[in-house]
């Protein structure tokens, strides 16, 4: 794509439309063409046609349908040309002829099929692919992010990301990773992989302003997944968790510096997101099939409910963490539970709990920050200082380093 074309798309708002329809169109084209790269090329070609036409005629009422039909017809034309030239099997040529409808570039009956996106997300998040490849494929194919955008989000070069995508697509094709929603028996494990990819995309979006588009993309994909799989409460739980976390974005930073939950201006929390997240959590509770994402969403819902930090229903939070730990017994869950205990039983009890889990989290900055906080509240200044110093050392982002360094300085 030339800069001039890109500029034209930007100016006419087409870039946004393309981003929205990309995943739907590619997913449907993969089903029709049976090949990811062919589908991507066909959709790019349709975007080029659309850029010329929509600037004059305006965006059609069903842009995704228009793109799918145009891309399909272009791809079939190309297949027929090569079928004549290279003697492709007769059956493929006849399929191509049969699906050639009248009015080559008008939206036909076959718009994007929502289930195609579901099939594609299970392909992209297949456990036979390595996790970083799952994330990259999901953002590229379903999110419609450019290779460069995906690369920048994960701090790798564009060429390294391009290689990663080529390798993942090669494996899908060579090993025949299927393009379908997994069978019932495989579904729980495979859905977990999809949910954790989406959650990883969201969390990566929390590291710095330039990555914030990842969060909206993760929410958009989770919303689509929750709508497509209404019988899977964990999909709804993930969406609620993201919405409730996202609702506090504006309060999380002041003048570029981190603000703890305790000190956040709750008036700037996004009420609409909180309401939507709450409604989902309520529906999950009524359904009574709790899982890790639903429980984490419920914890966030309790936080969002409170008028102030002090007014938070801490016993409820600890009870939810207990439940969460029973289904997801990780050190990080134990850490968060310990921090909540401080608000009911005081810093001594929290420190006791932290000491039990500290060995497993010795390289995790937030564990040392939590210990520092408890030690400070207990008046043990030297020990608190050592803990904050270690936290500063381990902090992964500049904002967290600055914040923790400030905590360290307040000691002396």
């Amino acid at each position: 794509m030339t800069d001039a074309v890109a500029a034209a798309r930007e100016a006419t708002g087409l870039e946004r439309v393309f981003r929205e329809v990309y995943g739907q169109a590619v997913a449907t084209l993969i089903r029709i063409l049976g090949d990811i790269t062919l589908a991507e090329d066909a959709v790019q070609e349709a975007f080029a046609v659309a850029t010329d036409r929509w600037r004059i005629d305006g965006v059609p009422p069903n842009p995704a349908g228009w793109i799918v039909t145009t891309a399909r017809n272009r791809a079939i034309d190309a297949l027929r040309r090569s079928a004549r030239g290279l003697g492709l099997p007769a059956e493929l040529a006849s399929v191509a002829v049969a699906s050639q409808g009248p009015g080559t570039e008008e939206p036909g009956e076959d718009g994007p099929v929502r289930d195609d996106q579901l099939r594609l997300i299970f392909t992209c998040c297949h456990p036979a692919l390595r996790p970083e490849h799952r994330v990259a494929l999901t953002l590229r194919l379903l999110g419609g992010l450019s290779v460069d955008e995906v690369a920048r989000s994960f701090l790798v070069s564009e060429s390294a990301m391009a290689k990663r995508l080529v390798r993942a697509k090669y494996k899908i094709k060579a090993a025949k990773i299927p393009y379908r929603v997994p069978e019932e028996a495989d579904l729980p494990e495979r859905l977990r992989s999809v949910l954790s990819v989406l959650y990883l995309i969201y969390n990566t979006g929390l590291d710095g302003a330039e990555r914030s588009p990842l969060r909206s993309e993760a929410i958009r994909l989770s919303r689509a997944l929750a709508e497509l799989m209404p019988d899977e409460p964990e999909a709804a739980g993930l969406l609620a968790l993201m919405l409730l976390s996202e609702s506090r974005t504006a309060a999380r930073r002041a003048d570029g510096e981190l603000v703890l939950l305790r000190d956040q201006d709750r008036a700037v929390w996004d009420r609409a997101m909180i309401e939507e997240g709450h409604a989902i959590v309520q529906a999950c509770i009524r359904r009574g099939q709790p899982g890790p994402f639903q429980l984490q969403a419920a914890i966030q819902a309790v936080h969002c409910d409170a008028a102030s930090f002090e007014a938070t229903d801490w016993p409820q939070i600890v009870a939810l963490y207990d439940h969460l730990f029973s289904v997801l017994p990780t050190p990080v869950v134990a850490l968060n539970r310990a921090i909540a205990i401080a608000e009911i039983e005081g810093p001594g009890a929290a420190l006791f709990a932290l000491d039990g889990i500290a060995p497993g989290l010795d390289n995790y900055h937030l564990m040392h920050a939590a210990r520092g906080t408890m030690l400070r509240r207990l008046g043990r200044r030297d020990a608190a200082q050592a803990a904050f110093a270690r936290a500063v050392q381990l902090a992964p982002t500049d904002a967290e380093r600055r914040f923790l360094a400030q905590q360290l300085n307040e000691q002396v």
């Binding site: 036979a128 090993a175 025949k176 990773i177």
Partner: protein, 123 residues
């Protein structure tokens, strides 16, 4: 229909998880025979078997038009292929389901690798 190689590796010097007592051996063989019968019945089985160790291997290569033979395996490694199945499967999920059954039967990790579509192999 695609074809996949399911291979298992033995690690030199590592205590094998292979059966030791005659009773264990009997149970192991029973599981393998049942699995292979299931593979045959479903049209999955193409070929398979257990290999002798790398000490039994010979490498053949051409040098100045002469066939040269060298004792030992092609790659001097701690790990070597101990046995394999070649199976027919619709896609990777189907192949992985069979791999799971093989793991259950022989209690060893299995590498699943697709064949390229060349010669007699369809993709």
């Amino acid at each position: 229909m695609s074809q996949y190689l399911l291979s298992t590796y033995a690690v030199e010097g590592e205590v094998s998880r292979a059966p030791r007592t005659p009773e264990e051996m009997g149970a192991f063989m029973e599981r393998v025979v049942a699995l292979e019968a299931e593979m045959e019945a479903s049209g999955t089985f193409v070929f398979g078997g257990a290999l002798h160790g790398p000490d039994a291997a010979t490498v053949a290569r051409k040098s100045d038009g002469d066939l040269i033979m060298t004792d030992g395996p092609f790659v001097e490694a701690k790990e070597h292929v101990a046995g394999f199945y070649i199976i027919n499967a619709d896609d990777l999920d189907a192949a992985l389901a069979w791999a799971g059954k093989v793991v259950d039967a022989i209690n060893q990790p299995i590498e699943v690798r697709p064949f390229r579509a060349t010669g007699r192999v369809e993709a």
